[in-house]
Amino acid sequence: MTAYLLRRLWQMLPTLAGVVLLVFVLFKAFGGDPAEILGGLNATPQQIESIRQQLGLDRPWWVQLWIFVQQIASFDWGRSWATGEPVAQLFATRLPATLTVMLPILVLDTLLALPLALAVAAMRGSLTDRLVMVVTTVALSISFLVYIIVGQYLFAFRLGWFPVQGWSDSLWTNLAVYAPLPVLLAVLVGLAPQTRLYRSFFLDEIGQDYVRTARAKGLSEPVVLLRHVLRNAMVPILTNIGLALPGIFVGSFLIEVFFSIPGLGREVLLAVNRSDYPVIQAVTVYVALLTMAVNLVVDLLYKWADPRVELK
């Protein structure tokens, strides 16, 4: 087990190096000149030159790359070029807002989609099953943008059930007042694809021999579904949740832009528009690390969900 963990951690290094290199090359070689963006339209060439010097942009590219590698190794991300705010502080202040919205979305989506998918899978081929499939197909064909625009207009602007947008300093106010509408809309949107996916996982299992055996020995249908099918379908389900996990730490920039939530997603969009390299670099490395860590944890969970899985 320890050897496995060590090997997996060791394998992360080349991937991380690739991520750093790719983002560096993309923004350095092709991105806008941060000095010109920061200097604004009225900056004199001298001012731009001095900003360049200040940011270290006048040094050769490999020196710049080396500086960033050092920053990653020391977990000291420096300051945002645009605002001068330390990147660590930027993360600390933006992440809570993102998590306040994204965590309920993931939990509700999973908790609603799993039973729904299991119920539909158990009634495979029935009218309800086909109806659910048609409804989800149509629901999936409408853009997320439409759901947000119409939802915000209808529930907040017209009916006044929720505030149109906003955010406060108190977690409870946020959860009770500002988060419900974005969460509700995102869950509505996420429910259709999740249900379809989980349904296909369950159907995969329901066709297996062990299910017939369980039924043949007289187990009731709920026991067959909840104890046998659900447990066996856990591996793909966990994979799917694992895939979604890193996303909740970045946040949905669409939701954050529409509802004025001061989260990371909006910050990333801003950083890209301003070529704010320290922030971009930090977010990328942070999410890449997170993705790899989640993948590792999911692989370990496989073992727990299915003892037949060999970790190699």
């Binding site: 991380l16 119409v150 996303g247 971009i280 999410v287 993705t291």
Partner: protein
């Protein structure tokens, strides 16, 4: 199990299964209707003048009837004959001359329509024409991006799965790198690099969306590379390239086709969001995304028709295309029938 089926028979069987699938055939009909519409729009037969301002700004749809006239202002219009000021007006002697000069230029009476079948946008452009033109651009972007992504994914997957070894490891590394970077950031980064335009959107989506296809095709090529028919081809002297693309590729083409259509749907939806953020289709062109972006502020004024039209067109096409994809997969791979 008796004799191996020829490839043409496999596709023939698939076509027969597809024809028996009523939902699949209906969605095929809808998709074909859209294809005709797109061809007509691309040829300039319909919606060529989508940029012309043919109606009053935000003209409502025909069914809703013309907008009520604005309530008259508070100022009373003065009544009675106009006062004669010609004895004190210093310009009075020249009015006749000016009028004669002005008469040389003809005014074109601009007849702006009060209503349109599906209404008009803020600039008075026909929403129906915009939606038709937008369909052309959105579907084109989605399909081309899917082609780019599938080509990259297929090529890399074929190389990685067939050769394995060092090359395979290098490609796995590339895959890991691309999947470790959050999708949004990758898309934004490519968007910042390439600027905006239709070609850019295609490139961005294609360059970031190939990973899933690569994964699937790599597994398929690994599986097929050791099959008897490929070994037989090798024995009679077929080169590696020939074995990969002339022998294996046709046998995995159904996987590629299904991936292509799944990606098309995904990319059509991605284009909408990119265009909304200003990273997609430029302002002098129209797509479902740019229509929805305009619709947000229009909705606040109660002008719902552009939003409804763009959503309806998109929902109709995407639903039909998704159902067709499902039918295609069922027809090509009957083992999976009805799974998803």
């Amino acid at each position: 199990m008796s004799r191996p089926r020829r490839l043409a028979e496999v596709w023939g069987d698939a076509a027969r299964r597809l024809r028996a699938d009523r939902v699949g055939m209906a969605s095929l009909g809808v998709v074909l209707a859209f294809v005709l519409l797109i061809a007509a729009s691309a040829a300039g037969l319909v919606a060529g003048g989508w940029q012309r301002e043919v109606a009053v700004p935000s003209a409502p749809p025909g069914l809703a009837g013309p907008r009520q006239a604005q309530a008259p202002g508070l100022l009373q219009q003065p009544a009675g004959p106009k006062a004669d000021l010609s004895d004190v007006d210093p310009l009075a002697p020249r009015y006749g001359e000016w009028e004669a000069r002005a008469a040389q230029y003809r005014d074109v009476e601009l007849h702006k329509r009060q209503t349109l079948p599906l209404g008009a946008d803020r600039m008075g452009r026909d929403v129906l024409a915009k939606a038709v033109k937008g369909t052309e651009i959105s579907v084109f972007v989605g399909l081309m991006a899917a082609l780019v992504a599938t080509s990259i994914g297929t090529l890399l997957g074929a190389l990685g799965g067939f050769f394995g070894g060092r090359l395979g490891d290098a490609l796995e590394w590339l895959y890991n790198v691309f999947t470790s970077i959050p999708g949004i950031l990758l898309i934004f980064a490519f968007a910042a690099v390439f600027g905006r335009g239709i070609g850019t959107v295609v490139l961005i989506l294609g360059l970031t969306g190939w990973t899933g296809v690569y994964r699937l095709l790599r597994a398929e090529f690994m599986k097929h590379a050791v099959r008897d028919y490929v070994r037989a081809a090798q024995a009679i002297g077929a080169s590696a390239g020939s074995r990969m693309f002339r022998h294996i590729l046709p046998n995995v083409s159904h996987v590629i086709l299904v991936q292509l259509s799944i990606l098309t749907v995904g990319f059509i939806k991605a284009e909408v969001i990119l265009s909304y953020l200003g990273l997609g289709v430029p302002v002098d062109q129209v797509s479902w995304g740019t229509m929805l972006a305009e619709a947000q502020s229009e909705l606040l004024l109660g002008h719902w028709w552009q939003l409804a039209t763009a959503t309806l067109f998109m929902a109709l096409f995407v639903t039909a295309f998704s159902l067709l994809t499902d039918a295609l997969r069922d027809a090509l791979d009957p083992k999976l029938r009805g799974l998803e």
